[in-house]
Structures are given as structure tokens and as C-alpha cells.
Symmetry: C2
Subunit: 199 residues, 2 copies
């Protein structure tokens, strides 16, 4: 099977990778978190000069640090802080890219409580600056991944505030989102889905 | 106190970490670090919907964490890691913005050792993706601040690799950079300088 990038560029599978006999190849590493999968994909995009997208470090509130004379400063007491932005951002062919990645064990819907208010507000702010904002959502049950535009996420979020659903039905995500099937190099070719929402 | 990375490189404190906030406005807040000044300026830009630019959290290598029953997870042992990107990025009216901020006590030149190889490579990568990349340089002696385009910084960096100068003369920075004079709201109006390099 020939896979093509939106620009017509052909994608070549690496040889030596074991393929299952049926057509649907399970590239997803079942032990891998969505974060690890995205980091690996971002490394591919970086090494191939396709995009520069990084996960931000986890914010930490440092309380106490030791400064030993001849070795590295050692943090003795610190706490996790809640991020005020999304986790991933960067630049892709002139576009500012900003997104968050969430996994759910739920099979039929994506619970909105996976997002914090701050993250949604951050997406709203980035959209005003003409950034490309979205969520990558993974249903771990059957290892399916979707890109959901921030505008759609925000619609559901806002409806929830006025008594609407507390989750987005999976069927809706399949309809309004873009599927991101696993492959090799990059493992999660989510920028192909981004191309579709840029247009 | 001076904190050093394992390789002897100096660590600058995060703002909000044991840092007093100087409310009295003598534009250039002498007690304020460049980082605090930029954070305050970015907050102004954010609140006024001019740009969404944040400092990335300091990367930490966590070694050990306690999970007390009724309180927040406590990090017991962790170390500072060196960032693989620049410290600041975001979106400004459709443009991807990426920069690093450096202070120097040197009066006549800016030592290139203030940058790490990783940061310069990151800038190179972002430029290829049509990001707007630069450095904000502060001469603490007379509290003057300049924006220097990443392309100019990279020129000096590359020349250094082949036996060129180990610093950029201040006179050169005054000539090829853009001055960012202190004011009120935002304290450091560096996006005005960015407008000039976008054109």
C-alpha cells in the first residue's frame, strides 16, 4: 500500500518491520503512553525538518535546594504545579502550533474533565492570535487517536458550563475530528491531520 | 547565590521563586531580573490580547517523589536539567515567536558563552520553519536592552567556531540590534522591536 503525504510526497515504510497478515497493521506500542508516542513523532518531525514542536517541561514549585560544594544543585523539596498553558507547542512551516494530548479509558465518550479551565482559556487566547490549536485524543481501549479542533472542544466546553454534556460522544469525535492512524515514522502522523484543519 | 549546572554553567533562578517583586516604577527596576521584566511584559501582552508568549518551565530531572496520603505529592530529590530549546515562545498575530533572554555584566561586549549550542541549534531549526527568532540582551551595568536577530547571533556563533571573536561588541549590537527602552505597560515593549524585524 502506498501512503502519501498531502503534498504528494510518498511515504516509505522501513523494511525489517514485522507486519501482521491482515491489512490493518498494528503499529501502536501498547505499552507506550500517548506522550511517549508524540515525543517520538516530534523527534521525527524535527530530524526531518518538518516541524519544531516540543513538550513543555512539567512546572515545578521549588521550595528547597541543596548546593553541595563539588556537585550539582539538588532539589530537596518541590511540588508539582498546574500548567497554565497546553503541553505542546512549536512551529510548523510558518504556523504556530499549540495542543494538548489526552488519553481516556472511556470507550464511548471523551470526558471534558480531562481538560482544565486554564488550558481551554489558553487555547482561546492562541486562536485569537491565529495559532493552530487542537487536542489529540486517544481512546486507549482500542488505541484510536483523533485530532479535535480547539474550536470544537471549546464549543462543548462552553455548552457544559450552561448545563450541557460533560463529555463529547466518541461518535461525534469520529465525525468532526480527524483520525490519526498509527504508522512508522512518524508513529503518530498528526501533522497530516493538521494540514486538513489549516486548509 | 550562584547556582551552577553540573558542567559549571550558571543557573538563573525562576521568577516567583524567592523573588521579591518591586512595585515602585523607576522603569528599569534595578532589583528585577530580565526574566521578571519579560514575564511582566508578557502578562501585559496576554491581558491585552496582543500576544500569547510564555516562559517555559525549568526542566527538572525528578529522582524521588513522596505520595503522602492526604496531601500533595512531594518531590524529594530532583536536579536541574539543561533546556534543549530557548526559554520563551508563543504566538503574536499569526507569527511564531521564539527567543532567549540573557543578561551580562560585561560593559563593552556580549560574551557568546551565554548561549549553549542547543539553543543556537534550536533557533536555526525554528528559522527554517519561518519562526521569528531572536535574543533579548540586557547590559545590566547601564540597564540597556536590545533585541538581536537570531540570524545575526548565529553569524557570530558560527564565526566563533572557526576562530572568530568569543563575544559580540556592544557597538555592533547597538548598530545591528534594536534598542528596547523601558517604559510602563509593558515594561519592556520588545514586540515593537519584533515588528521591525518582521518587516
Amino acid at each position: 500500500m502506498t501512503i502519501k503525504y498531502p503534498d504528494g510526497h510518498q511515504f516509505h515504510r522501513q523494511s525489517g518491520f514485522e507486519q501482521s497478515h491482515n491489512d490493518s497493521i498494528d503499529f501502536s506500542n501498547r505499552g507506550m503512553t500517548l506522550e511517549a508516542e508524540l515525543n517520538e513523532s516530534n523527534k521525527f518531525y524535527l530530524n526531518n525538518e518538518i516541524a519544531v514542536i516540543h513538550k513543555k517541561p512539567t512546572p515545578i514549585q521549588i521550595v528547597s535546594v541543596d548546593y553541595p560544594k563539588r556537585s550539582a544543585a539538588r532539589i530537596k523539596e518541590a511540588y508539582f504545579r498546574r500548567a497554565s498553558t497546553t503541553d505542546y507547542n512549536g512551529v510548523y512551516q510558518g504556523h504556530y502550533i499549540d495542543f494538548d494530548a489526552k488519553e481516556t479509558k472511556n470507550k464511548t465518550s471523551f470526558p471534558l474533565k480531562n481538560f482544565h479551565k486554564h488550558q481551554v482559556e489558553h487555547m482561546r487566547e492562541c486562536l485569537k492570535q491565529r495559532g493552530i490549536c487542537f487536542a489529540i485524543i486517544k481512546f486507549v481501549n482500542d488505541q484510536s487517536v483523533f485530532l479535535l479542533k480547539a474550536t470544537d472542544l471549546i464549543d462543548y466546553w462552553d455548552q457544559q458550563q450552561v448545563g450541557g454534556r460533560k463529555s463529547i460522544p466518541r461518535k461525534t469525535i469520529e465525525e468532526i475530528g480527524v483520525a490519526v492512524p498509527y504508522q512508522i515514522n512518524p508513529l503518530l502522523p498528526y501533522l497530516r491531520a493538521v494540514d486538513l484543519i489549516i486548509e
